[in-house]
Amino acid sequence: MSAPITIYPARKIITMNAYQPFATHVAVQDGKVLGVGSLEDLQYWGEAEIDERFADKVIMPGLVEGHSHAFEGAIWEYCYVGFHQRMGPKGPSHGGLKSIDDVVAHLKKEEAGMADGDAPLIGWGFDPIFFTGPRMTAADLDQVSTTRPVMIYHASMHMVNVNSYVLEKAGVTSETPVDGIVKDAEGTPTGEMRGTPAMYLAAKVTGSNILREAAEFSALDNFGAICVRTGVTTATDLGNPLQEEMVAQYKAWTLKESSPIRLVSTYAGTGFPAPQGVEHMQKLAAHQNEKLRLHIVKLVADGSIQGYTARLKWPGYRDAPNGMWYISPTELPGLIETYHKAGIQIFVHTNGDETSEVTIDAIEAALAKHPRADHRHTLQHCQMADEAQYRRMSALGIGVNIFSNHIYYWGDLHASTIIGPDRAKRLDPAATALKYDVPLAMHTDAPITPMGPLFVAWCAVNRLTSSGQVLGPDQRISVDDALRAITLGAAYSLKMDHEIGSLEPGKWADFAILEEDPYAVDPVALRDIQVWGTVLAGQVFPADSGQG
């Protein structure tokens, strides 16, 4: 006896499948798409239950977040102090904290609920880029507490602000000769730190490792809940040592029926010899399941543009020396060749254009020695690559997963300060990728920016910075292309496009359920479309468990 069939009528179904881009009904059997089309088309399969719950909604393929980190789930254990409202596991956060006073007041409230003692109060998502007036100081956070460590991460996670308690315990004073400790005109540390001091004091205050916390079921449940609320059915955890305990956690969590996503966790291969990495990954294969994939290695070749640690070609940064290699350009070819030869798919984090160039060189050399069709090696972020590099990527079959949210969050800063207006116009050039047929995906890098592929699509379509400027209007892409990049495009980059990313017979019944039709709304309203929830393998996950 065959399994029951459910047919969902919808206001509109966006399939991302070329032979039938739109439909009104989708039939599901055994967690898979049995067919899409009209009700009449689907009656071909015989008796079916008609489920009307999405009749006034828009169904599209479950969104695929091709570059995020599972610690997006763990970070909500800390106090969110961002400027914007942000989607959290329990729904949207507070409406955003618009001044230092707002941040302090919010932290005070949080502190009042804490037990006595010196447990740290940790905030995250602070983004002074959006504030006018003086920067936050330790005195501001001293209003929250002088008897426990108070530390808030900036949105980039590479900077922190601390209270005097933390400075005092660390022994940081005006005498401390360390770059990255921000000091006022009198030379007194303000409590703001960048780079090494930020990272060290954060480790000292939290005393924890966010990667391990991310593998706790509670954090993964949070991660899953955020995905449901943003329409994501496949999410990635990009760069994880994937040691035994962590894999066991991921495996057990994904096997739970209540876990609402497919998780792709990539092996963090930076800093380790490739032959051992290959061996480790071959062992990982046995731990995969329909909701857990561990088949990709991620190498991090440089740092970030706004941190001045990305490696840039001439003319480089105006105000800083060139950035840092995280992997030597002499070592990268060997790493890539070893993984490539072993048949493993490779992601390389390349922010600067010197790094993307060196990486393209390395992949070209590996391909010359060991030809391999359909390798799907993908440059991650790849924010500054020029057209010549895109032409080479096209010729070599290299894909790109670009960080379009940078345009909104840091675009103004890139243009005014970091790389200048000219190169900022070609930041995250989605139109160039499409022009040269370079397989295109786009991402949030959550929690660096908030989870939400529709926001990513909005960025690529509008290229609006947070101050409202259009950055590189010629790189804007169509809504259709943007929606493809956050579904089938991202699925392709994960080598899962035969299973997810479009609604076609035989693929997983993974849906994003939207309240509005993204093709019908004004493109500048794309980011405002409400997500009702998701469906994963036919199982319905309402964002708010009162509905559905």
């Binding site: 315990k169 660390a170 022994g171 090494t196 060290y200 004091l201 480790a203 030597s328 350009p329």
Partner: protein
């Protein structure tokens, strides 16, 4: 030993320069200091199986009191954990492309740490050609500029090092320069070079700028008093002598800086003696003869 302010030393240098050889030499030859060594991977460390007390994947504890920690988790988190173990000295192996100067800063960020110098290992045979690589030049130059001590390794492969040394001095005129092969430079002696020795910095006196080290097990046939006198009589090309000796069946700590020699009982320590000198210091055999060392 007081644990206030554990010295933090950073070992930098490009891939293949010999950072691991230096650490292997440290772990094998160290007798009297409990080092905690943070390395990127255990793979290349050559630790004698007999020395290993425990190994949990992230940390290897050795019989001589040292621990090795893998940085496969986060460096900052690992460092915080290692400080809690209260070792005598912490050594971090920087990645081959890192600027070790950035890691030196860590010593200022914790009251439990103090600065223990940045040692940058140089591949004497390859350095100058690596500098010609436009993708690498700025990275390599930054490493040299961050150094307190430049350890020229693989000196057996390059007889004439004057061009190399001139280049290094041009990049960093303050750092002390030491020479060795296969990373075999006694670690404590290396750190001793920081700011305590006269370096002229002048190209005309390169031989006074570049230091060598000779180490001995440290068992002498002399009486402590005679040993003291023999040390005082060593030529001025020996700029430093320090460590532990066994004399008359007893242990002594010995230090010679300039002409003054200090010998004091050090029960429970193990013999381990190091001499540092300029390139014209007497040979190992000659010193062994003068100090009657086994």
């Amino acid at each position: 030993m007081s644990h206030v302010g554990i010295p933090l030393t950073i070992i930098g240098g490009f891939l293949g320069a010999g950072k691991t050889s230096l650490l292997n030499f440290l772990l094998k030859n160290n007798q009297n200091v409990a080092y905690a060594v943070l390395v990127n991977e255990f793979g290349d460390l050559a630790i004698d199986e007999d020395l290993i007390v425990s190994h949990d994947g992230q940390t290897i504890a050795l019989a001589n009191g040292c621990v090795c920690c893998s940085l496969s988790n986060d460096l900052m988190e690992t460092l915080v954990q290692v400080i809690a173990l209260k070792p005598d000295h912490i050594v971090i192996e920087a990645s081959g492309v890192a600027d070790p100067g950035r890691l030196r800063d860590l010593a200022y960020l914790d009251r439990d740490l103090k600065v223990g110098g940045v040692v940058v290992v140089i591949d004497s045979a390859a350095f100058l050609s690596q500098l010609d690589d436009p993708h690498l030049a700025d990275t390599m130059e930054a490493q040299v500029r961050s150094a307190d001590i430049l350890l020229l390794n693989k000196c057996d492969l390059v007889m004439d090092r004057s061009k190399l040394i001139q280049k290094l001095i041009a990049l960093n005129s303050v750092a002390q320069i030491a020479e060795t092969e296969q990373g075999a430079f006694p670690f404590a002696a290396l750190l001793d070079l920081t700011a305590q020795l006269p370096g002229t910095g002048s190209e005309a006196h390169l031989h006074n700028k570049v230091f060598k080290a000779i180490s001995f097990t440290g068992i002498t046939e002399l009486t402590p008093k005679a040993f003291c006198a023999a040390c005082e009589a060593l030529p001025s090309s020996v700029v430093r002598l320090k460590g532990f000796i066994e004399a008359d069946g007893q242990m002594f700590e010995v230090q010679r800086s300039g002409l003054s020699v200090d010998v004091r009982p050090a029960p429970g320590c193990k013999p381990d003696l190091v001499l540092i000198g300029t390139s014209n210091m007497p040979s190992r055999d000659e010193i062994a003869r003068l100090l009657r060392l086994a």
